[in-house]
């Protein structure tokens, strides 16, 4: 049996080796080639990240990956992981998620979450602005992805601007926006390294979360051996593979951008970072409390 894995990104994207190929190798190895995974790339089975969960639910694909942030109303609790300060120092995002999986599982009806992981931390990716303190971005136009990122930007005194990611390159170039709050992997994924000039890391700006889900009835239709093989592949281990690969991609994107000399890297000291933390951490708690997840956030932060 060949499972269809729909990916909205091109085949050379990080997810291919870290999740799709890994699943295919391990499943076909364990079942003697009976159960395989085939990737459909670049949105061949339907474009964009926003509808991927629904496509799995409707059986367009057996497996797919996506970002809860695009449909945040479906994932109020999972979104807590994205908030500034939610992932404590020294802990990985996927461990945090899987430690709290019982609280998050209800947000994935009709599917089995086979991998849940987080991105590298968000950074300021700016054009012509060196950000050292919150005053540096006050009044600037910053592109944000979702509602919580918009609140973070607003808490820092910036003007949050919404736009499709594919328009960001042009918008930075023409000065329509001054910068972006996102992970540094966008430097290579969306070619922002060509137009950005300054990157500031170390401020608590949150991060992105990702899911890979498997259609529940696809799983139910597997033989007992195939189910056993699937059970062995999915979960924390697959999530670690994804998160490690994401971090490696981000490190590479950042160092290649810095080495090329086209961008300047600003790494905030602990003191500098605290000035940002003081402003944005109330946003995290007020969001968590607004969805009845205050205790969840506290337990995540290790309090």
């Amino acid at each position: 049996k060949e499972l269809k894995y729909a990916s909205f990104t091109p085949p050379q994207h990080t997810v291919t080796a870290a999740v799709i190929d890994k699943m295919n190798d391990e499943l076909s190895g364990a079942t003697g080639g009976e159960l395989t995974v085939r990737g459909y790339f670049g949105g061949e089975l339907g474009a964009g990240p926003a509808e991927q969960y629904v496509r799995v639910l409707q059986g367009v694909a057996d497996l797919s990956w996506g970002l809860p942030g695009y449909t945040s109303s479906q994932f109020p609790k999972t979104m807590i992981v994205e908030m500034p300060g939610a992932v404590p120092e020294g802990k990985t995002g996927y461990d945090l998620i899987w430690d709290n999986i019982d609280a998050l599982k209800e947000e994935f009806p009709g599917t089995i979450p086979v991998a849940l992981w987080t991105s590298e931390p968000n950074a300021f990716i700016m054009k012509d602005v060196a950000v050292h303190s919150p005053e540096d971005i006050a009044g600037l136009k910053i592109r944000v992805a979702g509602s919580t990122a918009a609140e973070v930007a607003a808490a820092l005194g910036a003007t949050p601007v919404q736009m499709p990611m594919t328009e960001v390159y042009n918008a930075l170039q023409t000065g329509l926006i001054d910068g972006v709050i996102s992970g540094v992997s966008t430097l290579s994924d969306f070619k922002l390294e060509e137009v950005a000039t300054h990157i500031t890391t170390g401020a608590p700006l949150g991060r992105l979360t990702f899911f890979t889900v498997l259609n529940q009835s696809t799983y139910d239709g597997l033989s007992d051996d195939e189910k056993a093989a699937m059970d062995a592949v999915i979960g924390r281990d697959l999530s670690k593979s994804a998160e490690d690969a994401w971090n490696a991609t981000a490190d590479e994107a950042l160092s290649s951008a810095v080495d090329s000399g086209s961008v300047e890297l600003i790494e905030l000291s602990d003191d500098e970072a605290k000035a940002f933390a003081d402003l944005v951490e109330p946003v995290s708690m007020s969001y968590a409390e607004s969805i009845g997840g205050g205790d969840l956030l506290k337990s995540m932060m290790g309090e």
Partner: protein
Amino acid sequence: MSAAAVGLIGLAILLVLLIIRIPVAIAMFVVGWCGIAALNGIKAANGLLASETFTLASSGELVVVPLFILMGNVASVTGMSRRLYDAAYAIIGSIRGGLASATVVGCGGFAALSGSSVASALTMGKVALAEMNRFKYDDRLSTGVVAAGGTLGILIPPSTGFVIYAILTEQSIGRLFLAGVVPGLLLLGCFVLTVTLICFIRPAFGPTGPRTSMSEKARALVGAGPIVGVIVLTIGGIYGGLFSPTEAAAVGAGLVILIGFVSRTLSLRDLWVASRQSVVTTATVMLILIAAHMINPFLALSHIPSAVGEFLISLNLPVVGTLMIILAVYLVLGCFLEGFAMLVLTLPIFFPIITQLGIDPIWFGVLVVLTLEMGLISPPVGINVFIVKSVASDVPLSRIFVGVLPFWCAMLVTLAILVAFPQITLFLPSTMIQ
């Protein structure tokens, strides 16, 4: 039956449905749905029908479609388009096919503003077709010029086509944009040459007007002032970072409405009628785009592109031969597929072959975008031709296809020149530091 066989049968059925005059969108829906149902089950076909429909109908990028149509409609009801063409006629009307050449240049200018061929063809169609008709231009020439000229939108930067190519192949967007400039101007020049040639062979296609004095020219130019002002403000706003190309469409529409109200050439009722006509044209265009997106997953599931790729590798041809075959495949696929869908479907397969052979990826990107443009006007599924048809409903489609044929040939010549002389494409991006 193999998946590839199902795919080929599906394309054959699509061809038959189109030939017997089933509306284009309906035919693509039927073939796409049945093909996906055959290859992946009815549940998946239904799921895609719903998700492709809603995703495209709620697309933040495609909102330029109704906005530019509205701008074109208001510009024509207020007489702004008329005065623009009066000015063009006064200045270059005495040259054979002058207005058609001016329209091509206008398409090029609009292309520099919008990244989309659909938007270029729609807006220029709304503005230019009735006006060329007024000056007794043959409708084959006028529709052909707009359909072909509109495709410049994805060769002259900014271009959605290059952005998608860059992201799919990890190339530099900046280099691709620079690489598109000279080929875009070259193609524009070839189009003007084509217009001139047509009008020398068939003078009745683009009748010459009377010579005008300097003062007549100046007076006509002043009359076109408002619409020229709108265009300058819109382009300036984009490059000045005031708004995005998408928002520029709304700014343009807002400005022509404002000018119309202030100059009392637009009543509320006119605006309402223009808006109503705009949603009807939008429906035509969007239904075709949605239906085209049902064909894409069908062909992906049929694995035809990867079969072609494997075949190509097995042939073991020299570099030039492989490049020729790949471009030929793009020309054939372009007959059936919407441009961007084609990129997504084929690049993952062909791009590794290209890089293995040491072919310059920027050069290849420009060649691919040019073949994509040719696909936009080639029968049977020529999206730009359908768009022109949607704004010129009284011109038979067959006449539009005849009209674009010389321009398609001009594109083929341009493609040959670009293949023969890679420096034309590559010298500008090579000046970029890095």
